[in-house]
Symmetry: D2
């Protein structure tokens, strides 16, 4: 069955599979000390414009959020995140499992507002009982957000300024970073992110890899003994080459950006198709996730013919439904989806 | 440089890479709900002779030990393991990170003795202060052990009997299980293991896969909400197909066993080569890891020409050195190693 | 300086000190196995009308919430609590430290609404992604709440019904339980609480003891190995007699109830005094904590003459201020406070 | 029944009860900010000869070990302790609960040897795989030890030197510190301990207090946000005065030392009595715990007439039994014990 359920329905970009095959029998040292990982790190350092960045490869997104935040936070600290953020809702308590509270601020299309963050921090320190409370020790944002929205450079700069004023690191979850960078409305670049954040990751799993996320700590910013910390959290892979080869491929000849741009084109095509058919959107997403408002009956009729994600109730007669494109989405599939929409009505 | 450093120096068995390529564009549901995972589980259930076994795929060995033991143990409990066991020494405290103590018993060539385990448990309950102590809540063994040794069926049965008497689960770390099953001196089969253990894993990473371990809870024995538990521990992969396709391939036409047997043949060939050249062994390993006693100078001369693992000091003039074969070791490489040994002297 | 800052400004009720002195040289077994603890438990069982209740004594409130909830919750579970609840705000992340998320629902004068709780639970299980979310595994309420408010029997019954329907335990934080039971508007009794809750504690620290909270699990409901769990959490006292003697005294001749009633009388007297002087209240509290709206300048002038708790901003010109009475408050002190209020204006 | 079971069978020294009564109605701020705590800290600073020491009061011994070590250790670190140490055996895994491994070295009469500690640390860093292992991050010793033995100044200095060389803090568990300081063979003073250790606690619970341990971090050495850390671990008492008044009393007019000396005199008297009757000792303890070797039948006959602690089997016919004195032991009680011994035979 045709699927727009998410951006991880297929395997990997064929060039990645080819690279895995090509390097398969070259013997390498384990645990991320292989030459492919080293090469991938150099290419990523070039792409973000920070030759001194510390880079590590992990397997998945929740794992990365958990491992990075637990390293950034002191025992008395929690992470500030938007109410709807992935770490607050959809990680089965992975952050709390490591002993840290998720401190929530309001969300606006999935985004955190720098002004509201400042008020949160001001209020915390203004409360005379704050030593009996969880200290805000890091800020978590995602870009794109869970709603596909993007921060402008001005917004990201404002968040970064608040964080630096309060001396707490700004961490960006970039599970879908490629789609954010290649959006037609993209306002921030990889070097911007490296300059404004203290930690972030470049998502591989949802952008063409079999698995893998590249964690970046700009300006030699890796937490103490991060390798041992990764091992202790069960997040180290013996065959680090698996991650190294993939990111080496993604950051060769701008493959990461090219395939992300393709996904954006497909999303724009799909968006146009929905709009032409008179559908409205739950919000205006400039990336690969589109949130369409469907009459309940249409959603039900559709559900046997194409896979998508139910996002929630809109009103008594309507639901919000997510359709995602990816590096693997073909124009033919988008056309097929539109045909299904026509038949539906 | 030639390497016998470990059994994860190469990528994956070519049939696995082929299967990943063949299935690459078939859209699948995420998080382990894909059809390849389902198929792999069926094949594993057949191989272990337990149609009701609960099976899950995880990424790596330390992660698996951590996730499984934290699910099996009550908060007041620790895991009993041999002094030299992987969970006690080389997992950077991954078990303690989850709040559980590793309770140690003596080791004999890396193995735990059922009689000593019984004494440990008897002594625990005989001590009137035991409610102030960590309860033994599971037993961890590895097969093969860190020293390449194997349990006999009698030994495993004895351990299982003690565990069942005390109502604590027996968990087997099978990171190198294939090599244990295919050893010329193998005395236990997969169905034996499924019958005698309450949880175990079939290692993929060190036996031909890019990554992946198949966790088995025989007799519908999965811990409560194990899926959510996996997610919370950062151990769930979005593209579960990556693990499913690999184990589906490994358990098709007995590939897992065939490639394990090959590694054993290579180990026997290597062992014979060392013996013929008059080297002695630290212990008699019947699997793919061989522990050779080398004069210090030979070890140093060798170290620029082939990769191996330094295992520890033997006496003032000698060291224990580990040479490992794997599914990927060729006879030519073993010959090359032997030539290097001849040149060394 | 006169203080209405809280209900733990003085030491202990004199009868408690006397009992400690009287029993001082009687040798006792440690760790809660002393005869005073046994006797106190029997008296509490009689007071709550449950001869089979499991009872344990702990030292303080945050400790009790932490130790009890960590025992009640499965690893995949969090506790549902009102947004303003103590466990969510003022325990420095003690719950998250044990790995569990605090799942919040709205508050109404500090209270949780059974209907809203039901909606929360319904929504959780209606969300198809719930296996990737923290399961609601217990419900936490406090009685009186942080705002001094009380549940009616109808409200508590409704909460209990929802919890039992969803098979999750209802836990009541009774740090100030005496003041709740003796309020002029008290609608629930100790036997009601024992019947409707699955765990609760009878606060000692704020109701006449030097320290100590009596944890009750009605109907033999103690979690597995709770003694070892207490020890592991650093919450066991060697001289358990310290807690036993205190609760034995508090539950002899209804001392606990008598001194709580006194605090309520003092609160009513204070409340009347404020009302007569034209002050309004932030909310209508029927217990020993009164939340008065003061003009900012009055609050400042007052702050050098009497101790109270700043509760937050009311509007630009006013603040909410808490005045608490306790078992130790004298009518003279309330009169002195009122005189200060008169001078203030 | 007469008891020599431990040093916490009675309540508190009468002067402590008197001080609690005398100060009972003086209103104080909570959470350790009271004036009695401040005064007690000043007196302790004088006694240890460090005017800049950071001091905190906690409730019990296991709690103190847990709270202090979890603050001293980085996430990747464990604590090095003797095999028989309290943290390794009798705290129900309280250290592991906080995520840290107890790394064990051999014991000699309960003591750790500086030379063996050095070898342990050297071996750790000599092992090329150490980044995959738990880092030694602190050293735990107790003084007196679980066996009543004492470090000499030379031994303590040697341990301190190794710790400083490796830049890891030395933490001394002083649950029975008074008895160690007042032993006839005491070689180290409180100022010595403050100079040589980086953290230690002065035990109150076993030396005359109802409860309470005074944690000392010499030279302004308190870990970051230790107050919030205490709160988060459930270890903060609302009525901090309870601990402040007790330590204020113990450190007024050298009460702590006087009552400790008395316990030593009683132990020496008891020891002499056993020796005169021909009993031998498991080891030569210079403090308040004496370990006597008793024929099994004598032990059994005795067990209905006096309380003591069974310490373990000595040989088939004998057991090791602990008799403890304390600040509360009277000469008459020692005489009564000796009479029982005479009757026994």
């Amino acid at each position: 069955m045709l699927s727009f359920e998410n951006d991880y329905s297929e395997g990997a970009h064929p060039q990645i599979l080819q690279a895995l095959a090509d390097t398969n029998f070259v013997q390498q040292v384990g645990y991320g000390e292989d030459e492919y990982s080293a090469r991938a790190k150099e290419k990523i350092r070039a792409a973000i414009g920070d030759p001194e960045a510390d880079i590590f490869f992990l397997v998945g997104g929740t794992q990365t959020n958990q491992v990075v935040l637990d390293a950034l936070l002191h025992g008395t600290e929690g992470v500030v995140a938007a109410q709807t953020s992935h770490v607050n809702v959809h990680e089965a308590g992975a952050i709390e499992y490591t002993g840290h509270k998720v401190l929530t601020v309001p969300e606006h299309g999935g985004k955190m507002d720098a002004g509201e963050l400042r008020v949160f921090l001001e209020n915390f320190y203004a409360d005379p009982t704050y030593p009996h409370m969880v200290y805000p020790g890091a800020v978590y944002i995602s870009h794109p957000t869970e709603y596909g929205t993007l921060y402008t450079k001005e917004e990201l700069t404002a968040l970064s300024r608040v964080c630096r004023e309060y001396k707490i690191p700004l961490f960006m979850d970039g599970a879908r970073l490629g789609y954010g960078l290649m959006s037609e409305r993209a306002d921030v670049t990889l070097p911007d992110i490296a300059a404004l954040c203290d930690a972030f990751y470049i998502g591989g799993t949802k952008v063409g890899a079999l698995c893998g996320e590249a964690v970046v700590f700009p300006r030699r910013g890796a937490p103490k003994r991060f390798i041992t910390h990764i091992k202790q959290h069960g997040a180290m892979v013996a065959k680090g080459r698996l991650l190294g080869v993939q990111f080496d491929t993604l950051f060769t000849d701008d493959l990461y950006f090219a395939i992300s741009r393709h996904a954006i084109h497909m999303a724009e095509k799909m968006k146009k198709g929905f709009a032409e058919r008179g559908y409205s959107f739950f919000l205006d997403s400039p990336t690969n996730q589109q949130f369409v408002i469907l009459p309940n009956e249409e959603m039900e009729r559709l559900s046997g013919k194409v896979r998508f994600s139910y996002w929630g109730k809109y009103d008594d007669g309507h639901a919000v439904v997510r359709f995602a494109t990816s590096w693997a989405t073909s124009p033919e599939n988008v056309d097929a989806l539109m045909k299904l929409m026509d038949v539906q009505r």
